[in-house]
């Protein structure tokens, strides 16, 4: 998956850099910094997005790693915090917004994890409850065999009560994750789930659906909470039956999930060119879309509502205690699908009621 490792001057002195290069069995190329990568490497790539995903750039990140998930204007926010330690991902999904979002094509991995842990410790001590993850600008476990970062972070985070750390992935790399039974914090492994048809067409390099389900069973045995994300829900001929069947499969493995999120496929206009150019067999843009008030394209509102209703009904039947929430949908969608006051449902308390900036009294 990773064919070349580049090490910046700043990262060269870290032991972690050597550890990763040794595990990868690759001789690193030393470069001054990320600008040098852009000038000397990236611009000579004929498919910078695809080839960049096979380049790992070990670097040092000087800013803050921890931030609130930005959400989307006008959409209901789920109070999630994110850690930006890795940006970009070796997998290659047609719908991935990173294609048009990132300005560096290599996978940038910050090796100064000591700084990250110091920053997190201060945050965890200050807050009563924090739900956070690393999967906003990267897949949390895609590089696990090379970096072991997911395990390091999990080992650290679960020692803090009130911390819920989610590692979101489309891989099956859970074998080496630590056992978290009896820890004060909570470890959750979240999988993006798609019918096999979508996995095969739109998610290059990821684990198959069966492998993800299998991995979720292993993670549960190690004491992890399990989350599934039906995000993005892609409309294709026969999608309704495929997603309903998928939900059945999910709940045949796990009676209750820590949470489950739903989101229809949506895209910024800038993504279209990448899909057309890089994924000629993709069915992603075949549906009917309308430009919405936030500038993104979404499937027709009534179609989304109709399908989400069926999906949520099915989940409620199979697992009434699983909190189901929408990612990137507005309050009206919530009302129409879940019924009015759905946001006040106690089942959703772990997602919405305990805010990360809910500071401990007297501190």
């Amino acid at each position: 998956m990773i064919e070349k490792i580049f090490v910046t001057e700043a990262a060269a002195k870290y032991d972690y850099t050597k550890e990763i290069c040794d595990r990868a069995g690759l001789e690193p190329e030393f470069i001054r910094d990320d600008t040098a990568y852009r000038k000397e490497v990236e611009r000579f790539l004929s498919d910078p997005v695809g080839q960049g995903k096979r380049h790992l750039l070990l670097d040092v990140f000087k800013g803050e790693f921890f931030r609130k998930c930005p959400g989307t204007k006008g959409k209901v926010c789920c109070n999630y915090y994110v850690i930006d330690q890795t940006t970009n991902c070796p997998f290659d999904c047609s719908y991935c917004f990173l294609q048009s979002y990132l300005n560096l094509r290599a996978i940038r991995f910050a090796v100064n994890v000591g700084d990250l842990f110091r920053e997190l410790e201060a945050v965890f001590k200050k807050h009563r409850f924090v739900r956070l993850g690393t999967g906003e600008l990267a897949d949390s476990l895609a590089l696990e065999p090379l970096t072991g970062f997911g395990s390091k972070l999990m080992n650290f985070a679960v020692e803090f009560p009130g911390v819920v750390l989610e590692l979101k992935t489309k891989s099956a790399y859970v074998e080496n994750l630590p056992d978290v039974h009896g820890k004060p914090g909570r470890g959750v492994i979240g999988w993006t789930m798609e019918p096999s048809h979508v996995v095969a067409l739109e998610e290059r390099g990821t684990a198959t659906l069966d492998e993800r389900l299998e991995a979720s069973a292993i993670a549960a045995e190690k004491g992890y909470g399990i989350a599934f994300h039906l995000d993005p829900v892609v409309f294709f001929p026969g999608f309704e039956a495929a997603y309903l069947e998928l939900v059945e499969e999910m709940f045949s493995r796990h009676r209750t999930l820590d949470w489950m999120s739903l989101a229809g496929f949506r895209y910024e206009p800038s993504l279209k060119g990448y899909v057309e150019e890089r994924f000629p067999g993709s069915e992603l843009l075949d549906g009917e879309f309308l430009r919405c008030s936030d500038g993104k394209y979404r499937y027709l509102f009534p179609e989304r509502i109709r399908f989400f209703r069926r999906l949520v009904k099915k989940v409620k039947q199979l697992s009434p205690k699983t909190p189901v929430y929408f990612c990137m949908e507005d309050a009206r969608t919530w009302d129409l699908v879940m019924g009015e006051n759905a946001l006040a449902d106690p089942v959703l308390e772990p997602i919405f009621s305990r805010e990360g900036n809910d500071e401990k009294q007297g501190m």
């Binding site: 611009r43 000579f44 004929s46 057309e276 150019e277 075949d286 309308l290 509102f301 009534p302 009206r332």
Partner: protein
């Protein structure tokens, strides 16, 4: 060094014909009236090889004498031509692609220099994918479609997409674009609609275009209807339902969020009474509410 030559003393080579498409009228008039003022650029020799100025050269008569700036070799002549043209009249992206491809094909510059110097000099991003797009556009486009795109100053990315089409599809597109006298944005819009329709229907572009001949009205609208049949259906239904309340009752264009919006401007108390009557009428309009419950599957 600038020297005068007769037209028939100058050699030509089609590799250097960077400009395609029609010659602008003002250039024709200027050459007719004044002859050639700005020297042509050529590789030095007894019979200089013309590198820059083909359109003006073609307008000359056999016996005309013209000023020629003579350069050491092809490489120097191309560089001088690029510099000059960038100053005189900036190239379109398609013309730039032509220059880059010809420089690359003839190895007048090493690839690295093309990326480092030529592309940025032409205002293009100095990266491999742009170089490849330039080459693909020149190699992959049929001359007919190339001319259509040149004439409309199509952007490189759009031209590169079309260059990937099979020759029959390119021929159909060239005929469609020029036959309908499309502007550049209409071409892009039409192509963006044609591609998914072709995929969905398992048809060819020429078959779709053939079908369009039967439709009346704006051809882009017709393509929109073909591409988005459900959206079109909803819009039409809505249009009919809202007709009696035109300008008072509207529906958000993206169908998101609130269902209907009612708006009116009140200038007098009498108007308020009228509006109240209208609102009452709307509330009694069963067809509207039937539509809403069907639309949102509201039980």
């Amino acid at each position: 060094m600038v020297k005068f030559f007769y037209k028939n003393q100058i050699r030509t080579d089609d590799r250097f014909r960077f400009h395609r498409g029609d010659v602008p009228g003002n250039l024709v008039r200027s050459v007719e009236r004044e002859g050639i003022l700005l020297p042509l650029i050529a590789v030095a020799g007894e019979q200089p090889l013309l590198v820059d100025g083909y359109r003006r050269f073609d307008l000359l008569s056999e016996g005309d004498s013209v000023p020629v700036r003579q350069m050491r070799d092809e490489d120097a002549a191309v560089r001088a031509a690029v510099e000059l043209n960038m100053l005189a009249s900036p190239y379109s992206e398609m013309e730039k692609a032509g220059i880059v491809a010809v420089v690359h094909e003839n190895a007048w510059m090493p690839e690295r220099e093309i990326l480092d110097k030529l592309l940025p000099r032409l205002g293009l991003k100095g990266c491999q994918s742009v170089l490849e797009n330039c080459i693909n556009v020149v190699d992959g486009l049929s001359s007919v479609l190339l001319n259509v795109l040149m004439a409309k100053k199509a952007p490189l990315k759009f031209a590169a997409r079309l260059a990937g089409e099979f020759p029959e599809e390119q021929a159909a597109l060239a005929g469609f674009f020029s036959g309908r006298r499309f502007s550049l944005s209409q071409m892009i819009q039409a192509y963006d609609l044609l591609v998914p329709i072709r995929k969905r229907d398992g048809a060819t572009i020429s078959v779709i275009i053939e079908k369009l001949k039967e439709t009346k009205g704006d051809v882009i609208d017709a393509l929109q209807r073909m591409r988005f049949p459900k959206t079109t259906g909803i819009r039409m239904k809505l249009g009919a339902l809202l007709l009696p309340y035109r300008e008072k009752l509207s529906f958000p264009p993206d169908f998101e969020g609130d269902a209907f919006r009612f708006s009116c401007r009140l200038k007098s108390p009498e108007q308020a009474v009228d509006c109240a009557r209208l609102l009452h009428e709307i509330s009694q309009d069963s067809s509207l509410f039937r539509f809403l419950s069907e639309y949102l599957d509201n039980d």
